[in-house]
């Protein structure tokens, strides 16, 4: 009833294959964009921007990156954290070598380095699949983490072993370093994330997106239909690592201000992987939903005891939050193994026929 496409006729293939053929979806997206670009900047305080929205968007972008590889091309990867790290260190090196260049351009450029490294570590994917491939990407994770610790050149031989983001200005505003305001950071992160998400939506609906899904669903049939497995998989690795690299660079430039090798550890890889699985493999919207669930929910849960006036120790809150989130992950995976994206589809179907059951 609320979500009925009746009467929306398509008279051209162009209209039929639009990203959102149904009017209600387009309106919904506009509402979300309006909230993100207007409502949140006007009403949100610094805490909400810095602790919730910026990390949420950074993780969403990383989840999109991993989703390209795992959800769309079917190649399981546990190296996401390291590829994000490559982006962060590359952006740091670039901005210290070229201090006058626009730091946003440097962040976008840093993804190229992680794309190259991702493609190299994607080479084994021609021979091995599934969990075995995951183990080789695990090797990437440990090797790159070792590089971040041992190769002093990467962090400019800083005594602390961490990278500290210098003060940089662009378009007359302070965009990175400790003095950058949350609202500026938020707009940069939002624009980059939304932009890349839109570009990926384009790629995924066309020939290249289809070739990735062909490899995912039936690699032998794909090959017999003329898809070159190595090129296709390496492109997926490169694109995925590019996006992850940009997300990693944004993470340190516009959120944390400083990062050490442990920021990009295996724990981060798993966190992103859970976002992708929980959000729904093979869905861009799912990446946002998964990131929201894993990042925003714990932040809110931590505030519940304080707001309702129960006096609990901070550690207890932390532990209980872990337990609740863990239980919810298990609950949602039992209810719908295909993630929030599928739940949302089911909900849309129900809205379509409401108030009738079918």
């Amino acid at each position: 009833m609320f979500y009925r496409e009746a009467g929306q006729f398509k008279t051209s293939y162009k209209a039929d294959q639009a990203l959102m053929p149904i009017l209600q979806d387009r309106v919904g997206l506009l509402v979300i964009l309006a909230i993100a670009f207007v409502v949140i900047p006007v009403f949100a305080n610094d805490f909400f921007l810095t602790s919730i929205m910026i990390p949420f968007l950074v993780f969403s972008l990383a989840a999109i990156g991993l989703n390209v590889l795992t959800g769309f091309c079917g190649q399981l990867s546990l190296g996401t954290g390291a590829f994000m790290g490559v982006g962060a260190y590359a952006a740091y090196k670039l901005t210290t070598i070229f201090p006058d260049a626009n730091v946003i351009v440097m962040v976008l450029l840093s993804g190229v380095f992680s794309a190259a490294i991702g493609a190299i570590f994607g080479l084994p994917s021609l021979r091995i699949k599934g969990l075995y491939l995951a183990v080789t990407t695990l090797a990437a994770q440990f090797f790159l983490e070792w590089c971040f610790i041992r190769i002093g050149w990467l962090y400019n031989y800083n005594a602390s072993g961490a990278i500290e983001i210098p003060h940089r200005e662009a378009f007359g505003l302070v965009v990175s370093g400790a003095e950058a305001t949350p609202i500026v950071r938020y707009f940069i992160v939002l624009c980059i994330t939304a932009g890349i998400a839109f570009l990926m939506a384009n790629v995924l609906r066309g020939r290249i997106g289809r070739s990735w899904m062909m490899i995912r669903d039936m690699d032998i049939a794909a090959e017999l239909m003329g898809i070159r497995p190595l090129q296709t998989k390496l492109l997926a690795f490169a694109v995925s690592s590019y996006i992850c690299g940009v997300a990693g660079a944004m993470m340190v430039f516009f959120w944390l201000n400083a990062a050490e090798p442990s920021s990009y550890s295996i724990a981060l890889s798993f966190q992103i992987l859970f976002m992708v699985i929980l959000g729904g493999l093979g869905s861009l919207g799912g990446a946002f939903m998964g990131a929201a669930f894993i990042w925003i929910l714990p932040v809110f849960l931590k505030f519940i005891p304080g707001t309702i006036g129960i006096d609990v120790a901070a550690e207890t809150v932390e532990h209980v939050t872990f337990m609740i989130v863990g239980a919810l992950i298990i609950f949602f995976l039992i209810v719908e193994p295909h993630g929030f994206a599928r739940l949302w589809q089911i909900a849309k179907q129900k809205l379509r026929v409401w108030p009738f059951p079918y």
């Binding site: 066309g206 020939r207 062909m214 669903d217 239909m225």
Partner: protein
């Protein structure tokens, strides 16, 4: 009426006599073994342009291995394959696709997570060339290319009468329709040679009749050469122009359906004799 009938039945024969059909593919003395197991031993046959060629034989006779050799998935240890007059070198499976060989599979090998439309569009992959950066932008060349190929795909959808399931994920379709979508996907490649591995397996009579009609139409309307493996002898004898019979990896008969039917070796292979 009678005269019309004779004229109709006489016509294809006279055409065939007038223009000797060109050879599309020729297999010479091909042998294939996996370790100690000989799947195919010294088989030779040819496929002529525009014909329907059946490959039959009991289970394990090497029929599917033969198809896999033809589309480059297996490399025979001995023998040569001549494709459109040129001897073919050892090659990767994706090269066979670009040379114009398409196939369907015995166990439906559709892309389960994709819709019918996307599955058939995937058959156009080799004919689409817009690179990554055009795809990123989408507006303009990439979109125009997509629409152009969508038109071709819609023609195939019309031909196979699957308009209603255009946007349905193929995993949800019944088996008979999946087989039809798979045929559509192969047709979207506009192949010169179409290999069908048991197109009627597991179908009921009505679905078999539909599928037979599609195969004949593909052959006659698009002029596609077809090589098919099938166990339903009625279908094989009605559809095919020539039949090659394999048993234990060896060729035991080759010729028009009626000759093959009468061949003692074939009868023995199917009914079984004490060796």
């Amino acid at each position: 009426m009678n005269a019309f009938a004779t004229e109709m039945s006489a016509e294809p024969a006279s055409v065939a006599e007038a223009v000797p059909r060109e050879e599309l593919l020729r297999v010479d003395n091909v042998s294939l073994s996996f370790g100690g197991v000989k799947a195919i031993t010294d088989i030779s046959f040819d496929i002529l342009k525009g014909e329907i060629r059946a490959i039959i034989g009991p289970n394990g006779a090497g029929k599917t291995s033969m198809l896999n050799v033809i589309n480059g998935f297996y490399h025979p240890q001995q023998g040569t394959i001549t494709w459109q007059g040129k001897e073919r070198r050892k090659m990767k499976p994706y090269e066979a696709a670009s040379q114009g060989i398409a196939r369907t599979f015995q166990n439906v090998a559709l892309f389960k997570g994709m819709t019918t439309l996307d599955n058939i569009m995937s058959g156009r992959s080799l004919k689409m060339h817009r690179n990554f950066f055009w795809q990123l932008i989408w507006r303009g060349p990439a979109e125009r290319e997509e629409i152009e190929h969508r038109k071709k795909v819609e023609e195939i959808i019309d031909f196979l009468e699957i308009q209603a399931i255009r946007k349905t994920p193929v995993g949800r379709l019944p088996y008979g329709l999946q087989k039809r979508v798979e045929l559509g996907r192969a047709l979207a490649m506009e192949p010169d040679l179409l290999l069908l591995d048991e197109p009627m397996a597991g179908m009921n009579l009505e679905e078999k009749e539909d599928m037979s009609r599609f195969i004949i139409d593909v052959n006659q309307e698009f002029g596609t050469t077809i090589a098919l493996i099938e166990h339903d002898m009625g279908v094989v004898m009605d559809l095919s122009d020539r039949v090659v019979v394999l048993d234990y990896g060896k060729k035991i008969a080759d010729g028009p359906p009626e000759d093959v039917q009468a061949n003692q070796n074939v009868i023995d292979a199917y009914l079984g004799v004490s060796h």
